[in-house]
Subunit: 212 residues, 2 copies
């Protein structure tokens, strides 16, 4: 009694509102700080209410991952393009989606989103790669490698942000001359790391092509 809200019993909370608020909360405070109670408070509702829109907390986290992916990955291939461009474009979409919701990144570490939508996108990528000459299984490996690299770099970057800013460059000092030299040009950004990794991966894939 005495809630500030309308207290009408059917407030008309929808699953979409719940998801949107959850993504927002994760973006703001990080995935680790996401709790059912806090999310409910945000929506001016009791915690247990959320369980009508979401199976449990893991279900909520799954839904966040799907939400972020759905927001980022575009299903159709617009113009004819080289497989390199298609793969790089896919990686870039994924990268941008994660960059948009950095708080949700840890959720990607422990789950694989298997939805009709993601499967359709996967199938499309596989088709492009097969048409380019890759065996289907090799193509699957390739897609996994690219997705893993993108998520992995984001994860690593997020982890570093949470760490003491004890500048590694200082530690490097005289004992670690090559490391010091490598860091001389300023800290390594995630973007540059990701770009390097993807460039190397794609170049490596080219050498694996039967005719290459």
């Amino acid at each position: 009694m005495g809630r500030s809200r309308v207290q009408g019993k059917h407030a008309g909370l929808t699953r979409d509102q719940v998801l949107q608020a959850a993504v927002h909360l994760a973006d703001r405070d990080g995935a680790a700080a996401l709790s059912m109670r806090k999310l409910a408070r945000e929506l001016d509702v009791e915690a247990m209410t959320l369980y009508h829109h979401v199976q449990n907390k893991q279900g909520l986290e799954d839904a966040i991952v799907e939400y972020v992916l759905a927001e980022s990955l575009s299903p159709p291939p617009p113009p004819p393009a080289s497989w390199q461009q298609v793969v790089a474009g896919h990686a870039d979409e994924l990268h941008r989606g994660l960059a948009k919701h950095p708080g949700a990144v840890p959720l990607f570490a422990s789950r694989t989103a298997i939805t009709p939508r993601t499967l359709a996108i996967l199938e499309h990528l596989l088709r492009v790669l097969r048409d380019a000459g890759f065996a289907p299984r090799t193509a699957l490996h390739l897609v996994y490698a690219v997705a893993g690299a993108v998520v992995g770099q984001h994860l690593a970057y997020a982890g570093e942000q949470n760490q003491q800013p004890a500048d590694v460059a200082d530690l490097a000092g005289d004992d670690l001359p090559v490391l010091a030299e490598a860091l001389a040009g300023g800290p390594v950004t995630m973007e540059s790391r990701l770009e390097f990794t993807l460039t190397a991966l794609i170049a490596g894939f080219e050498t694996l092509l039967p005719g290459g």
Copy 2:
């Protein structure tokens, strides 16, 4: 009162015992199931006692990561070898270490171990790569890419294990013919994925060499 243990006040618990038990617990029940209280119970001790040997829970997790790395990574380069062999060997050590403690894998997602030991190993790798013709910064990118790939594949694999065994191969059916074909040869193992990724990465690095 009335504990079953000796109840002598100084039981002689050491940090090493704590760490070993923590790694064991993580291996058995997974990192998510690791709690100060459970760990204390395992050691027949009260939870707060652990705080004499470890700063807090995050400190414990950091220590586990260091422990696993220290157990796995060998610092010296034994015989002269190609940079490709050195890099592949390093990746293999890391892979084996993670495979030995799968429960600890999630802890690697959110932190970068910066210890004198790991820095020394990093320096060594950078030196080998620089001597092979890579610019120091490129070499650093390269090491990050490899480490990220190994940890990423383990993470992805661990995530899949926790998921419904809804056989993707079944879902693939007729709508996703290329995916079905890719999965026809049985499920993709982590080993094969990792090997593929590393092969591609190293092949890609070769193309980035000034003289290559």
